[in-house]
């Protein structure tokens, strides 16, 4: 149970302000989720140089671990500490980097990976975390953020959203699934592994699993409606694409606002109130059971 905020920038002039706008949206939703928060930003050159890969982990706190990753990778890595998150960067593939992180620091929870998206998360209030992440100073093409009120899983950083389980695929969720344990078992039988006991991670893994099998993002989300039961507003991003899906009953809130310069999704109007030009934006609520996508 949570607050959701997502912003995709269409006007390149707005890119430097992406982080500041997203931080404002997120902090306005802190009442919906005071337990934890997280964010993923796409194409922020300071966080991730173009062409590089990253794997972000909850900082394991052991001093020599970056060297161990480099040794396992057999290539240079660069670690950037961002609040409670450490972003491991290299010029290799994400798969190679993720494998090396796993081998070298198996105790570190991996929270995100990709060549465009960097995921940052932690426990506590959104205002404290966005400050720790330095979100105000970050730019980018799109971002997705979440404030969490834990329902049936633990209040730990690994249970924070976004769930980024495949390259540049990030998911945030407001609601609760009522059959996630069964979907989790099914995915496990297909070899999918999980990092948390969180129901939202199951949706992220399901979408990743389907896309790996050849589904488009839209097709994978359409399958979610048939497979998952319960209440959900999902916002999912891939490199260049932002998608929204609400369950067929659609109890959990969602508002979309769209201008020529940006498209934003949030749990509530108050998250949108400070966006530039929101007064003249096209504003609507996503219909139940329908997949919406926007491509930058």
């Amino acid at each position: 149970m949570c607050g959701i905020a997502a912003l995709q920038v269409r006007d390149p002039a707005l890119r430097p302000r992406l982080g500041a706008l997203l931080a404002g949206m997120t902090c306005r939703l802190v009442d919906r989720g005071p337990d934890a928060a997280g964010v993923a930003v796409y194409d922020e050159p300071g966080l991730l140089p173009a062409g590089w890969s990253n794997v972000s982990v909850l900082d394991p706190g052991r001093p020599d671990w970056p060297d161990a990753v480099a040794a396992a990778l057999g290539a240079e890595v660069d670690v950037r500490h961002v609040g409670p998150t450490a972003v491991v960067r290299s010029r290799t593939t994400t798969a190679a980097l993720a494998g090396a992180v796993r081998t070298a620091v198996p105790e570190a929870t991996r929270i995100g990976r990709g060549r465009h998206a960097v995921t940052l998360k932690g426990v506590g209030l959104a205002a404290d975390l966005t400050e720790a992440f330095g979100l105000d100073a970050l730019g980018g093409t799109q971002g997705i953020a979440h404030t969490r009120m834990a329902t049936e899983s633990a209040v730990v950083a690994s249970g924070s959203h976004p769930f980024s389980v495949d390259d540049d695929l990030c998911l945030v969720h407001n609601g609760s699934f009522s059959n996630h344990a069964t979907v989790r078992r099914t995915l496990r039988r297909h070899g999918v592994e999980f990092d948390s006991d969180n129901d939202s991670e199951v949706a992220a893994r399901f979408i990743g699993h389907r896309m790996a099998a050849g589904d488009t993002l839209t097709e994978a989300l359409e399958r979610v409606v048939g497979v998952f039961d319960g209440f959900y507003t999902l916002v999912v991003t891939t490199a260049g694409t932002l998608a929204v899906l609400r369950d067929p009953i659609a109890c959990k809130p969602a508002v979309v606002a769209e201008t020529a310069a940006w498209v934003a999704v949030a749990s509530e109007y108050r998250a949108l109130a400070e966006l530039p030009g929101v007064e003249t934006a096209r504003i609507f609520e996503p219909e139940p059971g329908r997949v919406y996508t926007w491509t930058s």
């Binding site: 306005r28 009953i249 659609a250 109890c251 809130p253 508002v255 509530e268 109007y269 108050r270 998250a271 949108l272 109130a273 400070e274 504003i283 609507f284 609520e285 219909e287 139940p288």
Partner: protein, 228 residues
């Protein structure tokens, strides 16, 4: 005689101050609220013959439980606009989220734009006029009152409806269980004309269709098991 409105800037003062002032004995007759920025619970529980104009978007439960006041929102509204309204009026120039006028007992709610899902859910006597369209499951279990939709209605309109009356001008995606179209008689045209006039709209009542309860669910019957 016109009186100057008391202005409350929600960028400078909390919603608590506004509501406390509106709840005080003999509040000023006119109020203007600026910079609401989507705040929740603006002008909740007012019970006085005051006019409140809110310039900007509001969050959940704006004008909830309203009694006697006339509230105007120049912007959009979140969930539960005018929930449990008892009397007076609530009007918004933009769109409203889900559960507009939920369990509203009396008074008038006018939404110039669209509403989300469950508009008029459990309505108990209030009147709702929507200039645009309403979302799915609108008028769910609505007990009494009238809902006028100048645009379209989403799926399952009037599901499990009791005695509320629905008037829709546009397309109805689907009717909910036990909701049926009913003939538009002279008395209904007159009632609808009155509602449209009250809401300040100029649609032609003859362009609307009427929906209401088939009253097949009023007594439990095992043959209806798929309906529950």
């Amino acid at each position: 005689m016109t009186t100057t409105a008391v202005t409350v800037d929600l960028a400078a003062r909390p919603v608590r101050d506004l509501n406390a002032a509106l709840h005080a004995p003999d509040p000023a007759p006119r109020w203007r609220v600026v910079n609401p920025a989507g705040a929740h619970n603006v002008a909740v529980g007012v019970d006085a013959p005051v006019a409140v104009q809110i310039d900007g978007p509001v969050g959940y439960y704006c004008a909830g439980m309203n009694q006697r006041a006339d509230v105007l929102v120049r912007g959009n509204a979140g969930t539960g606009l005018a929930e449990n309204i008892m009397s007076g009026s609530v009007r918004i120039t933009g769109s409203a989220s889900q559960s507009v006028a939920a369990s509203g007992c009396g008074g008038l709610v006018v939404v110039d734009g669209d509403t989300g899902a469950r508009c008029g859910i459990a309505l108990r006597g209030a009147d709702v006029v929507v200039g645009g369209s309403v979302g799915h499951m609108s008028a769910f279990m609505a007990q009494a009152g009238r809902i006028v939709v100048c645009g379209d209605a989403g799926h399952s309109l009037g599901d499990s409806i009791y005695e509320a009356r629905l008037y829709v001008r546009g397309a109805v995606a689907s009717l909910g269980t036990d909701c049926v179209e009913k003939p538009m008689l002279g008395e209904h045209l007159a009632e609808l004309a009155g509602l449209l006039t009250w809401a300040g709209r100029d649609e032609d009542p003859a362009a609307f269709r009427r929906y209401g309860s088939a009253r097949r669910l009023y007594h439990f019957d095992s043959a209806n098991h798929t309906a529950y």
